[in-house]
């Protein structure tokens, strides 16, 4: 049977570092137990962080939606006083806000998935910790009696693997959260400065394409408003 390679190697190297440090499985068990408690704290912090980021993006989404609504009102006013140019400007801003809202929606969904995943990790880890606490002393006693060495090693490696896995899960969730936070901060900044239409970024082609998309969306909105104000 073929065996685990790369991904396994990551786990293995972390595992062997723990194993190298302590040769006595009894110490490893105690160490692992403490480490797991620490990890559980980290997971809980991670969940809180993700939830906070999500909340923040949701607030931003609400703000953008509100601005979009206001812009539509302005466009309507402009149109009824015969200033189509101003109406067009307002609608352009509105469309670009709507694009931003769509992006936020997908990020909120992504954070939500991340949160669910971490909650699952937390549940699993809590159960393992509870079991480990119950088994730890028994395993240690067995080891002392030198009759269950295989079993002990199996447990220890299993625990270490779990540790490495959860550690990696948290690390990835943290990285994702950091990315979202950076994005949220950038959005805050732009909202404050009032630069609402120019945060699509991307290369020239992207900008050009989004301009085309925006202008056709603006025309559609204008036509709709015209129909309503007639």
């Amino acid at each position: 049977m073929g065996l685990l390679d790369r991904m396994g190697t990551i786990v293995k190297s972390k595992m062997s570092r723990i194993m190298d440090r302590m040769e006595d499985p009894r110490e490893v068990l105690d160490y692992s137990y403490e480490k797991q408690l620490e990890l559980l704290q980290n997971v809980k912090r991670g969940i809180a962080e993700v939830a906070t980021s999500k909340k923040r993006l949701e607030l931003q989404r609400a703000r953008l939606a509100q601005s979009a609504e206001q812009l539509e009102g302005k466009a309507r006013d402009a149109l009824s006083s015969g200033r189509e140019d101003l109406a067009r400007q307002a609608l352009e801003r509105k469309v670009s806000l709507q694009n931003q809202i769509e992006i936020l929606d997908s990020q909120i969904a992504e954070l939500d998935r991340e949160e669910q995943k971490l909650i699952a990790v937390e549940t699993r880890l809590s159960t393992k910790i509870e079991t480990l606490r119950a088994r730890k002393e028994a395993i240690k006693a067995q080891y002392s009696a030198a009759e269950a060495q295989v079993k002990v090693t199996e447990s220890v490696t299993g625990i270490s693997e779990e540790l490495a896995d959860v550690g990696l899960a948290i690390q990835r969730a943290e990285e994702k959260t950091e990315g979202m936070k950076a994005r949220a901060a950038a959005l805050d900044d732009l909202l404050e400065k009032g630069v609402l239409e120019d945060y699509t970024g991307g290369d020239a082609l992207d900008r050009e394409l989004s301009k085309v998309k925006t202008s056709s969306a603006v025309e559609a909105e204008l036509a709709r408003l015209r129909g309503e104000t007639k």
Binding site: L3, R6, M7, T127, T157, V166, L168, A169
Partner: protein
């Protein structure tokens, strides 16, 4: 055998599953080499769902070592470049 899906948990798998996993693993190595992101994503999801469908989840209270460790389903293409190389996850 015991299979772990990183970040998700462990499964008790029939030994026969290794052949199917191996086939997907080889395809992923090829796709990663070719730079085919979409193909890679599809195959990775297939690999993970194969385990989810054909294997029995291990009780969270069991503490055992895995025989095979699969990467998380949301592995990025960049991360995959570092993992799916040469012989892939499973050596032939």
């Amino acid at each position: 055998m015991i299979i772990r899906i990183m970040g998700e948990g462990q499964y008790r798998a029939p030994d026969t599953i290794i052949e199917d996993l191996n086939a997907i693993d080889n395809r992923i190595v090829e796709l990663v080499e070719k730079g085919d992101r979409e193909g890679f994503r599809n195959e990775l999801l297939r690999m993970v769902s194969l385990v989810r469908e054909r294997c029995e989840p291990l009780d969270a209270t069991e503490i055992v070592k895995s025989d095979l460790i699969l990467p998380p389903p949301d592995l990025t293409f960049e991360e995959a470049r570092g993992i799916f190389r040469g012989q892939g996850l499973i050596e032939d």
